[in-house]
Structure formats: structure tokens, C-alpha cells
């Protein structure tokens, strides 16, 4: 067998292209309408229940706004994860460590440039992470792409361990922080919000848009989608699959890098600062549909709102309990995520 990726064996090249154009499109209207209605109904019920439990309109609005904003953060972090899963079928355990690495790079950039605006670090951090991702995929992961799921998983676990402890070694264990110039609180319908978190949400949306455009409108993007939908077919039409793998992992890592820069201003920067999001990010990816980039945004909102409303409804329990229960229910009800799988 020389196949790099398993696939339905006999798809003709034309079908590849056809299927590829369908993939990564977020909403398949027919199937989704029903889901959307159900989701809306459940959400409405949860909001009313949470409002009654909280006994305060301001608290409820705050919970909703915070839910959306933290949801934005979660989807930001999950973006690279879902892209990598969608194309490479790798459960990337190193995603959180990459976010942590990007936070430290931001810190180094801000300190090294004598206090430049942290968002400017994107110019440096994103290309650096892009390169790192390409190297990791080319050297460590490409040789084992034909092996089962768990082999790549173990390699990413190893990468995560190494990255976190290198950060510990280089930067020491003390927590650090990066200040965002001009950061202040604003009011939205009575809810108080830090500007930095709004910027992160906007950043998540821009990132989705950029990834979507790259995937939909560029030749490379089409190739990536083709590999995702049908690697064997893609190979037959002359696409260099290994190169696409390298490119995808690089883009996914760069997305994690962008996330790290954007959340750095309101995070406590420690070697484990990114990996605390690992659990949540997995949930977001599955809820949004593995490999579905816009879906990750919706998945993030679902998790953020569940966490906030769940904390109001069940005050004694961990807010994660609500998240995982919702997760299991959705998983069984719609095994391919709220918005379906990408390919």
C-alpha cells in the first residue's frame, strides 16, 4: 500500500473537486434548520432558568456577554486544533503548549522592543509559529502519517511536554504578564467588559474569516480541502500530499500562535498557561464539527454560554460538569457536531 491517507478508493478526480468545494462550508441549510431551532429553544429555556436562579437582570446579561466573550477565546484557541484534525486527522495535544509558547514570544517581543503594543507581536509571532509548525510536521509527524491515530497523538503529547518544560527552563517558573495599552472597561447593556477581551473576540472572527478565505479562495486552500476530502483522489490529480500536510500543520500552529498573542494581555503567562485550555478546546472542536473552522466559532459560543449559564443554574457544581454533559448529549444527538463535519 502506498496510500498516504485512507479514502474511498475509487473517487474520480472530478468528484474530488466537487466534494472539496462543499467542504468547509459551514451551514448545510436543510439539515441545520432543525438543529438551530432546537438549539435556540434549549438556549432560551436555559436563559430563563439561569435568570430566575440569579435573580438579577444585570447578572444574567453579564453571564450572556461573558459567555460570548469567553466563547470567543475558546474558539480562537480551538481554531488550529480543528483545522489540523480536519485535514490530518491528528488530535493535536500540543495545541495548548503552542498557545503558551506564543504568549511567551509576545512577552519577549514587548520586553525586547521596549514596550511596543503587544498586538504588533503578531507580525513576528505568527510567521515564527508558522515555521515551527512546518518543521514539526515535516520532521516529526510526516514520517508516521500512515500509522494509526494514537501514534500521532503520542508525538503531540511529547511535543507538549517538551515545549512546556523548555519554557520553564528558559523563562523560569514565575508568572508574568503583558499590559495592553489603553485597556479599560466598557459597559454593554449594563454588563461590564474589558476591551482586551472584546478585541480577542474580534480577533477570533477575523481569524475565522481569514482561514475561510484562504481555504475557499486560494489555489492552496482548494488543494488543502481536496486532501481533506479525499487524499487518494487528491494525490491522483497531482497534489503533493505531504506538502499539504506540512502547510496545514503550519497554518494550524500559526493560528494557535495568533490566539496566544491575542489572549496574552489578560492571561497570567506561565509555562502551563495554554494547556489549561486543552480540555475545553477539544469540546469546542467536536461541538463545532471536527475540521469545521466556522463551526469552531459556534462551538466556542456554546461552551462559553453553557459554562456561564450552568454556573448560575447549578451553583454548587463545577461549571465544567454542565459543559461535558451538554457535550455528551450533543455528541449522541448529532454525532458529527452541531454543524456537521467539514468533509
Amino acid at each position: 500500500m502506498t496510500t498516504t491517507k485512507p479514502a474511498p478508493p475509487s473517487a474520480p478526480p472530478s468528484a474530488v473537486v466537487h466534494r472539496a468545494t462543499r467542504s468547509f462550508s459551514a451551514l448545510a441549510p436543510q439539515r441545520t434548520r432543525h438543529t438551530l431551532l432546537t438549539t435556540a429553544a434549549v438556549l432560551a429555556a436555559a436563559i430563563i432558568w439561569a435568570g430566575v436562579s440569579a435573580g438579577s437582570g444585570t447578572v444574567l446579561i453579564q453571564a450572556l456577554v461573558t459567555g460570548i466573550l469567553t466563547g470567543g477565546i475558546y474558539s480562537l484557541i480551538a481554531m488550529g486544533l480543528t483545522l489540523i484534525y480536519g485535514v490530518l486527522h491528528i488530535i493535536n495535544f500540543a495545541n495548548g503548549a503552542m498557545v503558551g509558547l506564543a504568549m511567551y514570544l509576545t512577552l519577549t517581543f514587548v520586553d525586547g522592543t521596549g514596550g511596543m503594543h503587544p498586538y504588533i507581536a503578531l507580525i513576528v509571532v505568527v510567521p515564527a509559529m508558522l515555521a515551527l509548525g512546518a518543521v514539526l510536521q515535516a520532521i516529526l509527524l510526516n514520517p508516521v502519517m500512515r500509522a494509526p491515530l494514537q501514534v500521532q497523538l503520542l508525538i503531540t503529547i511529547g511535543i507538549a511536554l517538551a515545549v512546556e518544560n523548555i519554557l520553564l527552563l528558559v523563562y523560569g517558573p514565575n508568572p508574568r504578564s503583558v499590559a495592553l495599552p489603553g485597556n479599560r472597561a466598557v459597559k454593554i447593556f449594563g454588563a461590564a467588559v474589558e476591551l482586551s477581551r472584546i478585541y480577542a473576540l474580534v480577533g477570533a472572527m477575523i481569524l475565522v474569516a481569514v482561514l475561510w478565505l484562504v481555504l475557499q479562495k486560494t489555489r492552496t486552500g482548494t488543494a488543502v480541502r481536496a486532501v481533506s476530502a479525499n487524499p487518494e483522489g487528491a494525490r491522483l490529480v497531482g497534489i503533493n500530499i505531504k506538502r499539504i500536510y506540512v502547510l496545514t500543520f503550519a497554518i494550524g500552529t500559526a493560528a494557535a500562535g495568533a490566539a496566544g498573542v491575542l489572549i496574552a494581555p489578560f492571561s497570567t503567562i506561565e509555562p502551563t498557561a495554554g494547556s489549561i485550555f486543552n480540555l475545553t478546546a477539544f469540546v469546542v472542536v467536536v461541538l463545532g464539527g471536527m475540521g469545521n473552522v466556522p463551526g469552531a466559532l459556534v462551538g466556542g459560543f456554546v461552551v462559553g454560554l453553557t459554562e456561564q449559564l450552568g454556573a448560575l443554574i447549578m451553583p454548587g457544581q463545577s461549571s465544567l460538569l454542565a459543559v461535558f454533559i451538554v457535550f455528551l448529549v450533543v455528541l449522541f444527538a448529532r454525532p458529527t457536531g452541531v454543524f456537521g463535519r467539514a468533509s
Binding site: T70, N174, E270, T272, A273, S318
Partner: protein, 417 residues
């Protein structure tokens, strides 16, 4: 073919097992060096702390603190009753994992450690306490606050710092006294706590004290310290409740999130009051929190700033390691000094005798205490005390009890500016 292979595999496995055995004894030989040198006069104390992982900042400081104590004892002539025998610190990284703590404790004991200190995390200490008890080697906990560790009838484990429920009740006393002195008695406290063992047991004892004093405790909100990423809703709840004080029992990262949210929501509060909070008395917090965390209180076990020796120690630490000494490092320093003193009085390296000497200690610690360390029959330090600090003018200052205070508390605190 298959048959041959299975046989070959069996042979391979046998070799592998044998290698494990050998390499295992290699491990012990490297430790064995310590025990042979112990015979030549060195006395080994084992220090178990999380030098890697999420708690590495404290873990590494604690190893440093313990090393400073060893250096101090050796510089002062070693253990006098044993002919000036020198101390040696054998450190082990628990990686924050209880199993690793357990196997490393076993290794240290086997390599001749006379006593163990550690471990910063209650779950790890629980395992190490069991190992110590069953090997009959004394174990002095520098930091580990879960009450449960010492309710099992263990006789070889001791704890220097106040346990979680002591911190809850002493924390309430501190709050009430500070507010009372300012003639603004506490009416309603909102309690925010991390829902792990530490936060929960602190809450329980704080609650019973509040009830006895007739102070309303509402709302009481738990959160997941490991995963929380925003506290705004919780602070909005606090704001809506009309509480005049927010008490927070948590760790560093979540403490910063609380400060961010308080700065965003700007609730009307007389004080944000940490109860053994892991953030509100850290120098780093002054850099990380909005407005430098100005006005934040914390009732916590701490370096005794009214003790010149303790101040000198903190200064030495700063000079040697280039960072501010954390209380946890001072506790490790105390633990080693206490053990050294016990060895001296026991006039022996026999762990059982050292244990007896530890049990009857009256060591004067660097950490704020109500008096010399005194262990009850459970192994708790009955004189373990805490002080309250407040961040004023970007400095963490001791404000309670009045006896050792560096300055007077500002209450209501200037937090919502």
C-alpha cells in the same frame, strides 16, 4: 517461524526486565552514595517539592529556602551534638504527581534520609505521609493545608503552616478586627472560593465563624481554579448582592482574574479580602493586577516582618536568587531548621529518635507564629498563626495584628478607583 519469534521475544523481555533491575540499582547506587557519605558524617534531609509543572514557582523557591537553611546550619558548625556533622539536602521533583512523590520519598528514605520535608500540594503530601508513616521516618510539611492529612492518626507527620480550617477561622478574625477598628463592622460577606479541597475547607471554617458572629455570608460562589478564564459574572453577582466585603480563597492565576473583574465591574465594596489567597500578597501580583492591586488585603501565613532575623533571611534570599522570597520558601527554611534542631537534641541520626525530638520541639520560626512551634498529638502546629497584609503604595505591608504591623490598614480600601 512464529514459535521462534515468541521465544526470541521472551528472551528479549527477560533481558529488558534484567536491565530494568540493573538500571534500578544504578538509580539506588547514585542515592547510595549519599547514604555511604552519611555514614561518614553527613546527615541527609530529603526535600520533596514540585520543581516542574503548574506549581514550579513555589516548588523551586522552596528547594532554595531549604538549601539556605542547610547552608546556615553547616556554616554555624553543623550538628554540634554529633561532632559537628554536616547536613546535606537531597531534593526530589514530585512533578506535582502523588505517585512520583511516593516513589521519590521511598528513594530518599532508602538513600538514608533522616527526615523528609515537603510538599506544597496536599494530594502529594497525603501520599508522602503514608510512606513516611510506614517507613517510620519523620515528615515535616512546610506547606500543605488539607486538614485531612493529619486526621488519620499518623505519628510521623507534622505540619508547620496553619491548616485550611485554621486559616478560614483566623482569616475571619482578622477581617472582623480590621473592620471593627475602622468602625465599619462587617455586615455581609460575599465568599468566592476555588472548589478544590483547599477552598472548600477554608470556606467551611470561615462560614461557621461568620455564623457565630452574626455576619451574613451571601453569595457563596465556587469556581474551578484549573480552568476558569473569566470572573466577571461572579463579581457581577457579588455586586448585585450588596455585600460590603468580598472574601476570596484561591490561587495565583484566579486571583489575578478576580482583580481584573473587580476593576471592570467596580462593585461597591469596603474590601477585597484574601483568605490564604495565593495572589494578593505576591510581589508579582502588584505587577500583574490592574492598579497594582492597590488596597487588596490578604490574611495568610507569612514571613514574620516584625522579626529582624526573618527580614535578614528574606534579604539574603533576594541577594542570592534575585527574586523576592515567598512565604513558602521561608516555611521550607523553617522545616529544615526545625529538623536540624531536633537531630541536635536527639543526638542521633535514628529517624525514630529524631521523630520524638521533633514532636517536642519549641523552634522559633521565621514565619509569623503565635509563639514557638508546638505540635499537638495530631502533628498540627498549635501556634501556627497568620498575619494580614495590604497592598498600599505598591508595597505589600503587614497591617495585622497591630503588634507587628508595619502600617495601619486602610479600611474601606481604595479598590474601585
Amino acid at each position: 517461524m512464529r514459535r521462534h519469534f515468541t521465544l526470541a521475544a521472551a528472551a528479549g523481555l527477560a533481558v529488558a526486565l534484567a536491565l530494568t533491575g540493573c538500571s534500578g540499582s544504578a538509580v539506588s547506587q547514585s542515592g547510595g552514595g549519599a547514604s555511604s557519605s552519611a555514614a561518614g558524617g553527613e546527615i541527609v534531609i530529603g526535600a520533596l517539592h514540585p520543581a516542574t509543572g503548574a506549581y514550579a514557582a513555589d516548588g523551586q523557591q522552596m528547594n532554595n529556602g531549604a538549601q539556605m537553611a542547610v547552608n546556615a546550619v553547616n556554616a554555624a558548625g553543623g550538628i554540634k551534638s554529633l561532632g559537628g556533622a554536616k547536613l546535606k539536602l537531597a531534593t526530589a521533583d514530585t512533578k506535582g504527581e502523588p505517585e512520583t512523590g511516593s516513589s521519590e520519598a521511598t528513594r530518599l528514605i532508602q538513600s538514608g534520609a533522616v527526615a523528609l520535608i515537603g510538599t506544597y500540594q496536599s494530594a502529594v503530601s497525603t501520599n508522602v505521609a503514608a510512606v513516611a508513616e510506614r517507613n517510620k521516618v519523620p515528615f515535616v510539611m512546610d506547606v500543605s493545608n488539607a486538614d485531612d492529612i493529619l486526621t488519620k492518626g499518623y505519628t510521623y507527620s507534622f505540619r508547620l503552616q496553619p491548616n485550611a480550617s485554621t486559616m478560614g477561622s483566623l482569616g475571619f478574625d482578622a477581617l472582623q478586627n480590621i473592620a471593627g477598628d475602622a468602625h465599619k463592622p462587617v455586615k455581609q460577606v460575599a465568599f468566592l472560593y476555588e472548589n478544590g479541597a483547599f477552598g472548600s475547607s477554608t470556606l467551611a471554617s470561615f462560614k461557621s465563624k461568620a455564623k457565630a458572629a452574626g455576619v451574613k455570608l451571601d453569595p457563596v460562589i465556587g469556581y474551578d481554579a484549573a480552568s476558569v478564564s473569566d470572573m466577571t459574572t461572579q463579581i457581577q453577582q457579588v455586586s448585585a448582592s450588596g455585600a460590603d466585603v468580598l472574601a476570596v480563597a484561591g490561587y495565583y492565576r484566579d486571583g489575578v482574574l478576580v482583580a481584573q473583574a473587580v476593576n471592570t465591574v467596580k462593585p461597591k465594596l469596603n474590601a477585597v479580602f484574601g483568605v490564604a489567597n495565593g495572589a494578593f500578597d505576591q510581589p508579582q501580583f502588584v505587577k500583574d493586577a490592574p492598579n497594582g492591586g492597590d488596597g487588596y488585603f490578604n490574611a495568610n501565613y507569612a514571613i514574620d516582618r516584625s522579626n529582624p532575623d526573618a527580614l535578614a533571611l528574606a534579604k539574603d534570599y533576594q541577594a542570592k536568587y534575585g527574586e523576592t522570597m515567598r512565604t513558602s520558601a521561608a516555611e521550607s527554611y523553617d522545616a529544615v531548621k526545625l529538623v536540624a534542631d531536633a537531630i541536635d537534641r536527639a543526638q542521633s541520626k535514628d529517624p525514630a529518635k529524631v521523630r520524638d525530638a521533633i514532636a517536642s520541639t519549641s523552634y522559633k520560626p521565621m514565619a509569623a507564629n503565635k509563639g514557638p512551634v508546638h505540635f499537638n498529638d495530631k502533628g498540627e502546629n498549635t501556634n501556627a498563626g497568620l498575619i494580614a497584609t495590604q497592598i498600599l503604595d505598591a508595597k505589600i505591608q503587614q497591617v495585622y495584628p497591630a503588634a507587628g504591623a508595619e502600617t495601619k490598614p486602610v479600611y474601606p480600601a481604595p479598590i474601585s478607583k
